[in-house]
């Protein structure tokens, strides 16, 4: 099936340019060769159905209302040799450590601003900077980032680069587990002769990480809950899965109540105290008293309980200031400033359009660049130069000129690709990797992560809301493969 596979000018995760597999995919390649076309197509069907039957879906909203969709699953895994993974792991820990120190600094002493490493106005103009609400508040373990989902890409040289730090409510961890589960059910043969890092203890790691944030005032065993916006949220499955697996209550805002600055949940036996809230609601909806007064999802008085140290909120409030596309540019500086180290995994080169010289350059080279709104996510409000039409570029030029501060530009990276099997054939698709980092008393990186794939041929957008799919990610133990 892969005989005529073309890697083209891109880095391919699996194949060499001469249509032979890379060493760490050798076994896998041989196993897949044994499948007939019919077997492949039947297994593909079974895998997709299995997601639907189990209701592993996300909700998409469009003009016709809402529909539940599964994230398409592609069976060809992304295989990462353990040594390479080790470097990613160290790089992620380094980055999260620095970002956490940055948040702690920003909401307390602001040394990094005083020393002029980061321009003060960049922080102060950030809509997610909540100094007024939480400046000076001490939180358990001084830890702001309990869970992050860092998006990594590989360029044409195979170099990993950070594309985004998601420090607010990264979703998708449930898919990592479900992809592995379905993969094992439907393609057990493929696991022969592969020694893969297991995901088995990761849920208990996550649970311990949550529990390690118990507020000092908490007596006895802490009670933790997962706060969801509700079953209509697009990531509801993720919320449900994590709450269930960790054995904590899945609550909505209306289930919680604050009395005398203490948070309670409403149970069939009356009120029960809550100590830790793993929230999947954005900051501005958390508490109508402190943020958006029109929020019906939040809990009145929650911020006050947080400030009094009566409840821990994970991820911390105000993380949005550190993971937007403008602050991203300064993360390598943060690593140098706080840790005195050089970044292990580099950024993608990024230009600020507020700089007039850069702006001119970018406007002249729109066809070669990717331009993004610093406040948008999910693949929205961005221009992919090489794939854009003259008209789209014109539209974007106007938007950028109107508010250059709102935009950044990056060179179009030749995102790495991997084969995908869809509709009876194999073809190369662009991929990225979301790595999940948990941090409590200790830091732990989930081995592998969520490989996302842009299944539309030639597309660069991997977001599930825009037709992206998922792949299993294997960390292959040293030696590449076991002997048969």
């Amino acid at each position: 099936m892969l005989k005529n596979y073309q890697t083209g000018m891109f880095f391919d995760e699996m194949m060499n340019s001469d249509a032979t597999p890379k060493a760490h995919y050798d076994w896998f390649y041989k196993l897949v060769e044994k499948f007939s076309d019919q077997e492949l197509s039947e297994k593909h069907e079974t895998a997709q159905l299995s997601f639907l039957r189990q209701g592993i879906t996300f909700t998409v909203y469009n003009h016709e209302g809402q529909t539940e969709r599964t994230m398409p699953f592609d069976f060809i895994p992304i295989i990462i040799p353990e040594e390479e993974w080790g470097r990613i792991e160290t790089g992620m820990k380094q980055r999260m450590k620095a970002l956490n120190l940055f948040l702690e600094d920003l909401y307390h002493d602001q040394k990094i601003l005083e020393e002029g490493i980061i321009p003060r106005e960049l922080v102060e103009n950030n809509p997610y900077y909540y100094h007024k609400q939480i400046g000076g508040v001490d939180i358990p373990l001084d830890n702001h980032i309990f869970l992050s989902g860092v998006d990594l890409i590989r360029d044409e040289h195979g170099q990993y680069r950070v594309l985004e730090d998601n420090l607010r409510n990264p979703s998708g961890m449930s898919y990592v587990f479900q992809n592995r589960y379905v993969m094992r059910q439907v393609y057990p043969e493929l696991f022969f002769n592969h020694d893969i890092r297991t995901l088995e203890h990761q849920i208990s790691e996550l649970h311990d990480t949550v529990m390690s944030h118990a507020p000092q005032k908490c007596e006895g065993d802490p009670v933790a809950v997962l706060l969801t916006p509700g079953s209509y949220n697009s990531a509801y499955y993720d919320h449900m899965f994590l709450a269930q697996q960790m054995g904590i209550e899945l609550v909505e805002g209306r289930d919680l109540l604050v009395q005398n600055d203490v948070v309670y949940m409403k149970t069939i036996r009356g009120l029960k105290r809550v100590d830790i809230i793993y929230r999947r609601i954005d900051d501005d909806f958390l508490d109508p008293d402190a943020f958006r007064p029109d929020s019906a999802l939040g809990v009145q008085g929650l911020l006050q309980a947080y400030k009094k140290g009566n409840v821990a909120i994970l991820n911390g409030i105000g993380n949005g200031v550190a993971d937007d596309k403008a602050m991203y540019v300064y993360v390598p500086d943060m690593i140098r400033f706080y840790l005195g180290e050089e970044p292990i995994i580099p950024n993608v080169e990024t230009y600020f359009l507020s700089d007039p010289e850069r702006l001119d350059y970018v406007l002249e080279h729109m066809e070669e660049l990717v331009i993004k709104n610093v406040g948008a996510s999910g693949g929205y409000d961005m221009l992919i130069g090489p794939q854009s039409t003259e008209e789209e570029r014109e539209d974007f030029r106007e938007k950028v000129l109107e508010n250059p501060r709102q935009y950044i530009a990056q060179p179009t990276i030749k995102l790495s690709r991997a084969p995908a099997y869809q509709k009876g054939r194999m073809y190369p698709c662009h991929v990225d990797l979301r790595v999940f980092v948990m941090n409590g008393k200790e830091m732990n990186v989930l081995p592998g992560g969520l490989s996302r794939v842009a299944l539309k041929e030639g597309s660069l957008v991997v977001n599930s809301s825009q037709g992206g799919g998922g792949k299993d990610t294997w960390i292959l133990r040293s030696g590449g493969e076991r002997d048969a």
Partner: protein, 321 residues
């Protein structure tokens, strides 16, 4: 357990039970239709079926006349009927979806599968066959769900709330069916003696109790015997006595055998209802008396649901602001 979760479980139990019961009633009626020759009898039967599964007056307000195809659609999939089977199953699925973190995975999957496999309107060739398949699948789904609950759920709080929902729904439905049948019997009292036989047979079939009944009773369908069976028979799982005593046992377990201040009202009411059942000699009652008893009883059932919900704060909390 969260009140909202308990609420969802309770309504999941009620809605699957409601859909299953209504599907059975409609299924029985569709079979009867094949037997009945008299046009008038047929139309009158539909009135009872509508009264049992939804509301006759609501239907007439919307459609103005009894017409089989319209009624079937109204009872199965019509979005205009809030008690349509599709609506009940859809509520049950939504409830399962929001509580699936504490349910056996298979339970959610069974309800989800029903939702996914439903043919859209007009997709089936033979409408009557399509309806029968639909009803069969629905009843199977409800029974499978029940099987999953019984075979894999711990007998803890979530189990109790699902079951209490189921039993209360059942008790109410049984009372309602008996009420409707009595009303019908009264309205043509003495006209055609054969009708009486036919009505009580229908009542037993609606409640899936025919086989169990004739094992212990003569097949003459004496109204007193049928009523006694459907109201007081402790061993028949759709009798009112069975449902109410199981609710009481489940709540007693839930409370660890104690009556606390917040549950006094609930236990008192249960006691009253049970006493009403046991102390009433149904065989001796005149039709008018019986109707009054059933009316009263149906109200008591609704009352019981209300008090149960209040005791455990199940009335859905109002959104913050």
């Amino acid at each position: 357990m969260l009140s909202r979760t308990a609420d969802a479980l309770y309504w999941m139990g009620r809605n699957t039970e409601r859909a299953e019961n209504n599907a059975r009633v409609l299924n029985v009626q569709l079979i009867h239709m094949l037997e009945a020759k008299d046009r008038n009898v047929l139309d009158r039967d539909w009135k009872e079926v509508l009264e049992i599964c939804a509301s006759y007056s609501d239907y007439m307000e919307k459609y103005g006349r009894l017409e089989t195809k319209t009624i079937v659609e109204y009872l199965t999939t019509s979005p205009l009927n809030m008690n349509a089977m599709k609506a009940s199953m859809s509520i049950a699925r939504d409830n399962a979806r929001t509580t699936r973190d504490i349910l056996p995975a298979e339970l959610w999957e069974v309800l989800n599968e029903f939702h996914l496999d439903q043919p859209g309107p007009g997709e089936d060739g033979d409408a009557m066959m399509g309806t029968k398949d639909y009803l069969k699948t629905l009843m199977r789904t409800s029974m499978t769900a029940q099987g999953v609950i019984e075979s894999s759920m711990s007998r803890g709080v979530p189990y109790t709330f699902i079951k209490v929902g189921k039993w209360l729904e059942r008790a109410e439905k049984t009372a309602r069916i008996l009420n409707v049948i009595c009303e019908k019997e009264r309205s043509d009292k003495g006209d055609v003696p054969r009708n009486s036989y036919y009505y009580w047979l229908a009542a037993l079939r609606f409640l899936n109790g025919y086989d169990a009944f004739i094992k212990e009773n003569p097949p003459t369908m004496e109204s007193g015997q049928v009523l006694d069976f459907l109201i007081k028979k402790e061993t028949f799982p759709r009798s009112i006595a069975y449902c109410v005593s199981h609710v009481r046992e489940a709540i007693t377990d839930l409370e660890g055998g104690e009556v606390r201040h917040y549950s006094t009202r609930l236990f008192d009411l249960l006691e009253t209802v049970e006493a009403d059942i046991h102390e009433t000699a149904i065989g001796d009652m005149e039709m008018e008396e019986l109707m009054t008893f059933l009316d009263h009883f149906q109200r008591q059932c609704m009352n019981l649901s209300q008090v149960f919900m209040e005791t455990y704060y199940l009335t859905p909390p109002v959104a913050v602001r």
